[in-house]
């Protein structure tokens, strides 16, 4: 039965249900228990934002705090996965990938290929991403394009509590390494989520809104911004179709291409910086595969090519907005062939 819970609770519930179902699922990372051997162990923290609260006492020996040593414990996740566990390691902020990337992209991602198909590495790295809470340049980035670029990894970016639960359960059950991106601004957002466990398949986009004039592909927090823009544009007679790919690797290209075949116009919204990001990747794929269907050039709405700034005024100017998305849609709708009535 569905009830309204937060994105954060949905993630906690997915972890708890999978730990309940499968004794090989283990959770570790900095502060995920949040007080092992500390005076307040009985009320362990459950992560800096409490996302893993309650798991430590419920699953003794399977929820472990780590030293602040991302290389060691992310590598341990790879070793544990290759030897029979399903570890869910938490990289508190994705910005910390810089200190442990080798263990992800040279080790976990490549075991299966390098070893001739003889290994599987069923691990998940949960990680917080995104701008919006004044966390400044080293705690706010949208680094999923880097992981999407790496063969052997899968990348999921839930936009809603429903997707968060279903994609995390799918990630844990997946036999390949998955980088699971949790947008920090979305943690408190609420939505309908079934109580029972369910897995959402990777590589299947969610058509968030159907429409015939312009295809808007949006990811993560940008999905709700695109919805806001679409509402405003509907009043102007522009009917947007919003597609949330939900996973960038694998990417559901078919759903995007089918939509563009119908609309002939594409706007891709990406909170990442513009070069070599998902926006440029999706725009390029569409340009190559659906050139004949396009009535106007694809447009990208992204953050600028800068680090994420701290000052609230600057950060707000950095992140794409419903207004900037609407402006791009108007531009593409008004260019090329005549806009639809």
């Amino acid at each position: 039965m569905a009830r309204e819970i937060t994105y954060q609770t949905a993630i906690n519930e997915a972890l708890a249900q999978e730990m309940e179902r499968d004794p090989t699922v283990v959770v570790f990372g900095e502060d995920v228990a949040g007080g092992m051997e500390a005076p307040g162990e009985d009320d362990a923290w459950g992560g800096v934002l409490g996302v893993t609260k309650g798991l430590y006492h419920k699953y003794p020996g399977r929820v472990l705090d780590t030293p602040i040593s991302e290389s060691a414990y992310v590598g341990a996740a790879a070793g544990a996965a290759a030897s029979g566990l399903r570890p869910v390691a938490e990289l508190m902020f994705v910005d910390f990938m810089g200190v442990c990337l080798d263990q992800i992209f040279n080790q976990a991602a490549k075991f299966r290929y390098m070893f001739g198909g003889k290994a599987k590495t069923p691990m998940v790295i949960r990680t917080m991403w995104g701008a919006g809470i004044r966390a400044a340049s080293q705690h706010s980035q949208a680094l999923y394009p880097i992981f999407t670029h790496i063969p052997g990894l899968k990348v999921a970016l839930p936009a809603t509590p429903y997707d968060a639960k279903g994609l995390l359960i799918a990630a844990i059950r997946d036999d390949d390494p998955v980088i699971f991106f949790e947008h920090k601004v979305l943690y408190d957002t609420k939505g309908d989520v079934p109580e029972e466990p369910y897995a959402l398949p990777f590589g299947e986009a969610n058509i968030v809104r159907e429409g015939g004039d312009v295809t808007v592909v949006a990811l993560g927090r940008m999905v709700s911004f695109a919805q806001e823009a679409a509402e405003a544009l509907a009043g102007e007679g522009i009917d947007c179709e919003i597609i949330d790919p939900r996973t960038t690797s694998p990417l559901d290209e078919d759903t995007i291409l089918e939509s563009v075949e119908n609309t002939g116009r594409l706007v891709v919204v990406d909170e990442a910086s513009p070069r070599c990001g998902m926006a440029s990747d999706i725009a390029a794929r569409v340009a190559q595969e659906a050139f004949a269907d396009l009535k106007a050039a694809p447009r990208m709405v992204t953050a600028p090519h800068t680090p994420v700034p701290f000052s609230p005024v600057l950060e707000d100017a950095y992140v794409p907005t419903a207004e900037s998305i609407a402006a791009a849609v108007r531009e593409t709708a008004g260019s090329g062939a005549p806009a639809p009535a």
């Binding site: 040593s69 590598g75 070793g79 390098m114 003889k118 599987k120």
Partner: protein, 331 residues
């Protein structure tokens, strides 16, 4: 840190001694043969030879079961052989053949066989220690008494991954053994330059772990210390550090001109320190094995390598379709 006095050769059974010699001789034969074959230009890519260091792989792996794991280095052939990987399939892998242990997808630097507990040679210096922490965690969570061993070079002893892993293994009380093979050079740079502070074995003290240094040319010394570390891990008492001092016989990679080495360094090592010679002397002088026991193994190793090279050369290449296979279990 303590030093370990080599036990008497007679403390091991005849079968254990024969097996130890077989492993060391097979590794030596494999590496000497690769050195020769590489010079013909038929072997693609990078090859890093383990010759000279055989006593370490043999001495450590003598205490491991097939369900224990090792994580290796770019100089990984010796560890793979000692852990029981198929020698012919290894050679075919190094030639890039479909018949290779990894179907030609890995090569010398990524030889692996998880069924044998060989978690892979590793192209990244310091790549292995975190992985064995994970294997140790698997053993802990599944309540098995498996042990995980990482081999790392003297160069790797300076990687953050190594030091972080000692700490993590201590914090989580993991059944791990961290072996440092100090073979005289991190590529071309000697430990006298690249390792500051105390002897590496003493670095274990900082994490509350036992650290032991042994002569890496001496199978008996390695085996004694490794046996203790593996027993400690298997019993649940935690991780250990074992530093083996040795020198490699060849360059960092095949083709390395080794201008950084002394003029007669390797000749002297081969003449005075060789692990196989020392082993043979010990066991024959103690009267536990006969000269003929050893020459029989020598001949068998040579024959095995003759066949391995011949089959590897004649082996089929992978089909080009295989570029795309085994990236994911399912995508």
């Amino acid at each position: 840190m303590s030093t370990v006095a080599p036990p008497e050769a007679g403390q091991l059974t005849r079968d254990q001694l024969l097996e130890a010699y077989r492993v060391m001789r097979t590794i030596r034969e494999f590496e000497e043969r690769l050195h020769t074959e590489f010079a013909t230009g038929e072997i693609p890519g990078f090859v890093h030879l383990y010759a000279g260091e055989e006593a370490i792989a043999a001495g450590v792996c003598a205490h491991l079961r097939s369900d224990d794991y090792v994580a290796s280095t770019h100089r990984g052939h010796g560890h793979a052989i000692a852990k029981g990987c198929d020698v012919k399939a290894m050679m075919a892998e190094i030639y890039g053949r479909h018949t290779g242990l990894c179907h030609g997808k890995g090569g010398s630097m990524h030889i692996a066989d998880l069924e044998k507990g060989m978690l892979g040679a590793n192209g990244i210096v310091g790549g292995g220690p975190p992985l064995v922490c994970g294997v140790g965690l698997t053993a802990r969570v599944k309540q098995t008494d498996q042990v995980a061993v990482s081999f790392t070079g003297d160069g790797g002893s300076n990687q953050g991954t190594f030091l972080e892993s000692l700490n993590l293994a201590a914090c989580w009380n993991l059944p791990c053994v961290f072996v440092i093979e100090d073979n005289g050079y991190a590529e071309s740079t000697p430990p006298a330059f690249h390792q500051a502070g105390v002897d590496v074995a003493k670095r274990a003290d900082g994490f509350g772990l036992p650290g032991v240094e042994v002569d890496g040319f001496d199978f008996f010394a390695v085996s004694e210390a490794a046996g203790e570390a593996v027993r400690r891990a298997r019993s649940g008492a935690g991780a250990s550090l074992l530093v083996c001092k040795v020198m490699r016989y060849y360059g960092h990679f095949e083709g390395d001109q080794q201008t950084y080495r002394g003029p007669v360094e390797v000749e002297e090592l081969r003449a005075k320190r060789d692990c196989l010679d020392a082993f043979a002397r010990r066991v024959t002088e103690a009267g536990v094995l006969e000269e003929s026991d050893l020459t029989e193994i020598d001949a068998a190793a040579r024959a095995l390598l003759d066949e391995a090279v011949e089959e590897a050369k004649a082996g089929p290449d992978p089909s080009t379709d295989e570029v795309l296979s085994d990236v994911y279990v399912k995508y």
